[in-house]
């Protein structure tokens, strides 16, 4: 019988068995194109699978015994999946001999003849397999039908599995009737997901008033983000608004009155929050801002440097100030003196502060470049020297050090 099914290795020109192959090498014979994974309800390829997705009852025997489809309209009440328990238990016992023979001849692996499932055929379902033998099965332990959970179960009423309750948000039978925790969890996440999708749909239309483009149609993912002004509700893309706010003071704009202001209503905003969606209500905005703040609070402040640095924002810093044992703050209970900034005079200190604010806003790009590396190096060198007992401020000691 297997002789009538076309060999798939031969079809690829790769059958090593030649004359001895148990499958047909005649192009006229029909190939076995049935996906066995689908029959178990587990094909990961879905509609992209290159094998036929035939329901189990139709292709019952053809799946593994390789008989022709037209011959096997076997009607069975319980849906049985061949290949499963039989190959996993009996089949393995059968294989060792076959394997040694195959490996010796370096042949591709094929099911031994006669197929293992025929030896001892159990009318048990693959999915139910584990539960059959057990006596104490609570309903909560039973899995729900994955087809119904995905949207539609082709077996309908006749399905041997528990069909989940209908989720009102996603419209799928995916709520396990006997697992309340899971049910609640699903309802919560599903609701959240749904809201996010709605917001995303809403956000599609929104244009940035600076580049005049739709924010979510920008070419790169990094650009497809809104910049939420803390004090007003005008939409911009994050790159545009950051660009504007970080314009150099030399451009003639006043930092406090022009650059920090909304380009549209000129209301001053102290910070900008990046977000992938635009909000429709005050509460939504607050939620986005809060989660952003929470995210920032989980990151250690670079300026504070675990108690060794001086953060210009002090206690109102958005980032976490963790004091490490042995650090300056830990020892002296006050922040270390601010290191001199030779590039800036005291007059523009406010600008410098706001500049740093801008750096902090660029949370995603909170990288080592944030700190002026040259600055840090000289400062660290100084620290090192002072630890070694050298006085870097005294030039004569420098000379002594050299000679």
């Amino acid at each position: 019988m297997p002789k009538r099914v076309f060999c798939k290795f031969f079809a690829h020109g790769a059958c090593l068995k030649g004359e001895h192959c148990e499958y047909s090498h005649d192009w006229k014979d029909p190939p076995n194109n049935i996906c066995t994974f689908y029959q178990k309800g587990l094909c990961a390829y879905g509609s992209r699978c290159r094998y036929q997705h035939v329901k189990a009852e139709r292709a019952q025997s053809s799946a593994s015994s390789s008989s022709i489809i037209s011959q096997q309209f076997v009607v069975s009440d319980s849906i049985s999946l061949p290949h499963s328990s039989s190959t996993s238990s009996k089949g393995i016992a059968f294989i060792p001999g076959a394997v040694s023979e195959l490996s010796a001849l370096s042949r591709p692996f094929v099911l031994p003849k006669p197929p293992a499932w025929k030896q001892e055929y159990e009318q048990s379902d693959f999915l139910d397999g584990g539960d059959v033998g057990e006596t104490s099965v609570t309903p909560a332990d039973l899995p729900i039908c994955s087809f119904a959970a995905a949207g539609d179960c082709p077996r309908g009423e006749k399905c041997p599995h528990v069909h989940g309750d209908l989720c009102p948000t996603c419209g799928k039978h995916c709520l396990h009737p006997f697992r309340p925790d899971e049910k609640e969890e699903h309802l919560r996440t599903c609701n959240k997901k749904h809201k996010h999708l709605e917001a995303l749909k809403h956000s599609q239309e929104i244009e940035c008033s600076v580049c005049l483009e739709r924010v979510l149609l920008k070419p790169t993912a990094a650009e497809r983000k809104f910049g939420l002004m803390s004090e007003c509700d005008h939409p911009f893309c994050i790159s545009c608004i950051r660009n504007w706010r970080s314009s150099s003071p030399t451009s003639g704009f006043d930092v406090n009155s022009a650059l920090r202001a909304c380009p549209i209503c000129r209301k001053l905003s102290y910070f900008v929050v990046p977000s992938v969606v635009w909000y429709t209500s005050k509460e939504e905005k607050q939620e986005i801002v809060n989660s952003y703040m929470a995210k920032l609070k989980s990151i250690d402040c670079k300026h504070f440097d675990f108690g060794n640095g001086n953060c210009p924002f002090g206690t109102s810093c958005f980032y976490r100030h963790t004091v490490k044992p042995g650090s300056y703050v830990w020892k002296h209970h006050r922040p270390p003196p601010r290191r001199p900034t030779p590039r800036r005079s005291n007059v523009v200190e406010m600008d410098a502060l706001l500049d740093m604010f801008e750096h902090l806003e660029g949370m995603e790009c909170y990288s080592p470049e944030d700190l002026d590396s040259e600055d840090t190096n000289t400062w660290e060198m100084g620290l090192l020297f002072s630890l070694m007992g050298f006085d870097t401020s005294d030039s004569s000691s420098d000379e002594e050090f050299i000679f």
């Binding site: 600076v210 580049c211 005049l212 005008h234 545009c240 003639g252």
Partner: protein
């Protein structure tokens, strides 16, 4: 680096509403979008009524984060516009610029400036003095300047159109080109021939 996509969009937006606002923005040359010419009609009820004023626009590299540089190409008698250079004294073109403003809104502001002079913050002291001390003379001079400089292009336009049409160019194209070069017949001919 300048955002040419935005400039392109602004030009499209502006050409859509040419009937409503009367404001026109066209590239000076085909080579670049950084040099443009804006045209605004003189506001009705002012000495500038009936005139068409041309403004040279230079877009800096930082546009739209830096304001466009605008200067009257047409001579204007106005306290806030230099009668010599055409420099405009307008806050939104300087420190009050916002990236949400566009060329069109900036030109609208310039048009509004024509109808509401600010002699206390003058660009041209002579004009401002005249505006404050002898308003009648100011109106007369402004009107005279409008007649002599802002209307030249429209004088004899029909003749020029006829001439160019006779050379074999379609009339609509001729009118458009003439308008874009400010009524200069030779420039129009050059432009028609090149493209």
């Amino acid at each position: 680096m300048m955002d040419f996509a935005r400039v392109q969009k602004e030009l499209q937006e502006c050409s859509k509403d040419i009937e409503g606002s009367g404001i026109r923005v066209t590239p000076k040359t085909d080579a670049t979008l950084a040099r443009l010419v804006g045209t605004i009609p003189g506001p009705i009820g002012t000495p500038y009524e009936g005139g068409t004023f041309q403004i040279d626009i230079n877009l800096p590299d930082g546009y739209p984060f830096e304001p466009p540089k605008m200067q009257f190409a047409t001579k204007v008698w106005h306290p806030n516009i230099s009668s010599q250079s055409g420099a405009i004294c307008l806050d939104i073109l300087k420190d009050q610029w916002s990236p949400a403003l566009t060329l069109k809104t900036a030109l609208l502001s310039v048009q509004a400036l024509l109808s509401a002079p600010q002699p206390d913050d003058p660009q041209d002291a002579v004009v401002a003095q005249q505006y404050l001390k002898d308003y009648q003379t100011f109106v007369g001079t402004a009107r005279y300047w409008t007649e002599s400089f802002a209307k030249i292009s429209s004088l004899g336009v029909e003749e020029k159109v006829q001439k160019l049409v006779e050379m074999g160019f379609p009339e609509a194209l001729v009118r458009g080109t003439l308008e874009s070069v400010g009524g200069d017949e030779n420039l129009a001919l050059e432009k028609l021939c090149s493209g």
